[in-house]
């Protein structure tokens, strides 16, 4: 059974290698090959899942040691896998959503001449992501971590001929690299503290280390998580990442890769549990991002960027839950899974709309699409209801639990966290309703594209609608399924632990409050966008609106704080290197040259001047000899 794990990771990696090396020969079958390999991974995951289910709670762990990777003295880094309930959950999410999106991409990318490459990159992503969640040590996790970063870089910049896409890809990679510094340093700290960076010894021994060290490790892990999961302050890349093809946004920048940060923190739970300061920072980051993303999401006209803001905000919820400790881990992961379904569904719906509207992304130029694209409308609508937490759809269960856990933190903090999350829920309802209304309702505001083609909206082909329908099912029923008999909680509890916090407000109250703020949010959006016609050009708005439309000035800040000074620094250094460092060298050379030039003047070619120096020299010698005699 264990050996299947290697196969599970290997299948998509093999696909990537085949498609990239195989060249044009595979152009015609490449996409099916890639999809088949993704499906293979899913089947293997299902087999492993059923195997785990046959075992008892504590026994549900599989290990596979493939080979020793980098052995140097005391340092042991192995290529080894660990499959437990937490990684199993991720594997199922990744392979199922991954396979669906492969299928969707067959239709979406049908007219792209580089489709084979696209599928190669998708497979590469799948392999790297599986490696990330299945690794049994932090170094191998790091390999997957950067591997998904690479796949994300390649896919965001897939349409490389567009400078904006190339820039966005580079930005994503570099911001992620900043986060990676955190992961590197965390691994280094683990090695110097524990002498290893495998999960089991580190997490089991975490309590033996000093709190300062653990806080350090925790904060560094958080930095890494911020980079990958687009949390404040490393959030700036996610909006731009929407330059990639929409299936990529659905798979990588909504359902799976961006949640890797939550995985990292949940996986390292033992470290955070022993470092309360680090936990507090995680909670703060989660809370800030939650609002940040929601505010940005409210202001964007680009459908994908609005959804990206939403993703950021939802991951903020997960991050916050993970920061709460054992009270929240399970619900963070639960929200992660349900979010994986409904957000992927939303993005695929958005892709379907763009596909129909000549790749238009501005919602101000949509409107009234529900009659033209019924399947997209229904699936998008169900996912919409799930994300705003409509009672008994999946978002309702997972988000309410997180809000409840926030209140359970207790004291003033509990009230603040709960309040922030309720505010976030209201904003979620607001921006999602806004998207819904601007896209599918109201009157047509369609405009011809740059080439003058009028849009003729039509329903997407089957390869695209099937994944949307399946995901819609997931969005509707996942929460109910997870919540029935607390199945999900019992499944994850052995890995993450579970505590029931002491909340000043009951479960029912939280549910009511969440539903109430949702209604407020929906109503607010309806008053603004449903009752009145949507203007085709965005109003200028007030200060906050303007800032939100510029992503709350994140890029302006980064430019002012890092890019501009960095440019000046490099330019200054290039100048200094040339003038000062190299100047010193050339100066030494030049001064020798100058000296020799002076000396050469003595050799003037006049025989009589040579004679003078001869006589002078002889006289000096004689004088010296006489002087020596005298002394």
């Amino acid at each position: 059974m264990e050996s299947l794990i290697g196969l599970l990771v290997g299948a998509p990696l093999l696909g990537a290698a085949l498609l990239l090396v195989g060249g044009r020969r595979l152009d015609r079958v490449g996409h099916w090959l890639a999809t088949a390999l993704a499906a293979t991974s899913f089947v293997l995951a299902a087999v492993l899942f059923s195997d785990l289910l046959d075992r008892e709670g504590e026994e549900r762990v599989l290990h596979e040691h493939l080979f020793s990777w980098v052995p140097v003295a005391d340092l042991r880094a192995d290529v080894a896998f660990q499959l437990d309930q937490l990684s199993m959950t991720f594997v199922l999410l990744i392979t199922s959503v991954g396979t669906l999106i492969h299928l969707y991409s067959i239709g979406y990318m049908a007219h792209d001449e580089r489709r084979r490459r696209f599928f190669a990159y998708l497979n590469l992503f799948l392999g790297a992501m599986l490696l990330l969640v299945l690794a049994d040590n932090y170094l191998l996790l790091y390999v997957g971590w950067e591997g998904v970063g690479l796949a994300s870089f390649l896919l965001i910049g897939f349409w490389q001929h567009k400078p904006s896409a190339a820039t966005a890809a580079k930005k994503a990679f570099i911001v992620n690299r900043v986060g990676d510094i955190g992961l590197s340093i965390a691994i280094l700290l683990m090695f110097t503290t524990f002498g290893t960076f495998a999960f089991e010894p580190v997490l089991d021994g975490a309590t033996g280390a000093s709190e300062a060290t653990l806080t350090g490790i925790g904060l560094m892990l958080l930095l890494a998580a911020c980079g990958k999961s687009a949390q404040v302050p490393l959030q700036s890349w996610l909006g731009d990442a929407m330059e990639g093809p929409t299936p990529v946004s659905a798979l990588i920048h909504a359902a799976t890769m961006v949640t890797a940060g939550v995985y990292l923190i949940t996986r390292s739970g033992a470290i955070f549990d022993a470092a309360p300061d680090a936990q507090t920072v995680v909670v703060v980051v989660g809370a800030v991002t939650l609002l940040f993303g929601a505010i940005v999401g409210c202001a964007k006209d680009d459908i994908k960027k609005a959804l990206a803001g939403s993703t950021m905000s939802q991951i903020g919820y997960m991050m916050l839950a993970a920061g709460l400790g054992p009270v929240g881990y399970v619900f963070a992961i639960m929200h992660l899974v349900t979010h994986g379904f409904f957000k992927a569904g939303l993005f695929l719906g958005a892709g379907s709309v763009m596909h129909a509207m000549n790749d238009e992304v501005d919602m101000r130029r949509y409107g009234g699409l529900r009659r033209h694209m019924p399947v997209t409308f229904v699936t998008f609508g169900l996912a919409y209801l799930a994300i705003i937490g409509f009672p008994y759809l999946s978002g309702f269960f997972s988000k309410d639990e997180i809000i409840y856990a926030g209140f359970a933190k207790g004291g003033t903090e509990g009230w603040i966290l709960g309040g922030v999350m309720l505010l976030g829920a209201a904003l979620t309802a607001y921006y999602m309703t806004r998207i819904m209304l601007m896209t599918f309702f109201g009157e047509k505001r369609w405009q011809p594209d740059a080439h003058g083609h009028e849009p003729h909206p039509h329903e997407a082909p089957l390869t695209m609608t099937i994944p949307m329908i399946v995901l819609a099912f997931g969005s509707v029923f996942a929460g109910f399924l997870f919540d029935s008999g607390e199945a999900f909680v019992h499944w994850l509890e052995p890995v993450t632990g579970l505590e029931h916090g002491d909340s000043p407000v009951g479960h029912g109250t939280v549910g009511l409050a969440a539903t109430a703020v949702m209604v407020v949010g929906v109503a607010g959006a309806w008053f603004q966008y449903g009752r009145r016609p949507v203007p085709a050009v965005a109003p200028t708005g007030r200060l906050l609106t303007r800032a939100a439309r510029r992503d709350l000035l994140q890029d302006d800040f980064n430019h002012a704080a890092f890019v501009t000074p960095g440019n000046y620094l490099t330019r200054g250094l290039v100048y200094l290197d040339h003038k000062l460092v190299d100047g010193l060298v050339n100066g030494t050379a030049a001064s020798f040259g100058g000296l020799s030039g002076r000396l050469r003047r003595v050799q003037n070619g006049f025989a009589r001047s040579y004679a003078v120096s001869m006589f002078g020299g002889a006289a000096l010698l004689i004088a010296a000899t006489l002087l020596m005699r005298a002394v």
Binding site: Q603, N604, G605, F606, A607, R608, Y610, A611, V612, F615
Partner: protein
């Protein structure tokens, strides 16, 4: 007679020759001054020979004469050639002996 006087004379002649080499431009005159220096040294050598009572100095003087003769042959040939090509016997005109 005190042999030291011959040495003073030799020194005087040598100095005269040396200043001639340094101060005159005509190659022939410079050449004659060189001869004067050589002969001054010859005089000194012979004097030393007399003072020490052995023949080493005189033998040395003969060598110098032979060298001087050879020098005259080569030197005059050079001067004549230079004069033919440059129409001048001034040593300062031939200042190309440098890099």
């Amino acid at each position: 007679m005190n042999p030291e006087n011959y040495l003073f004379l030799a020194a005087l002649l040598f100095t005269l020759g040396a200043s001639g080499v340094l101060l005159r431009r005509n190659a022939i005159v410079v050449f004659m001054c060189v001869e004067l220096m050589l002969n001054a040294s010859n005089l000194a050598l012979v004097t030393f020979s007399r003072m020490h009572g052995n023949l080493d100095g005189q033998i040395m003087a003969f060598f110098v004469m032979v060298v001087a003769a050879a020098e005259v042959v080569v030197g005059l040939a050079v001067i004549v050639t230079v004069y033919r090509s440059r129409h001048s016997a001034s040593v300062d005109d031939a200042s190309l002996m440098k890099l």
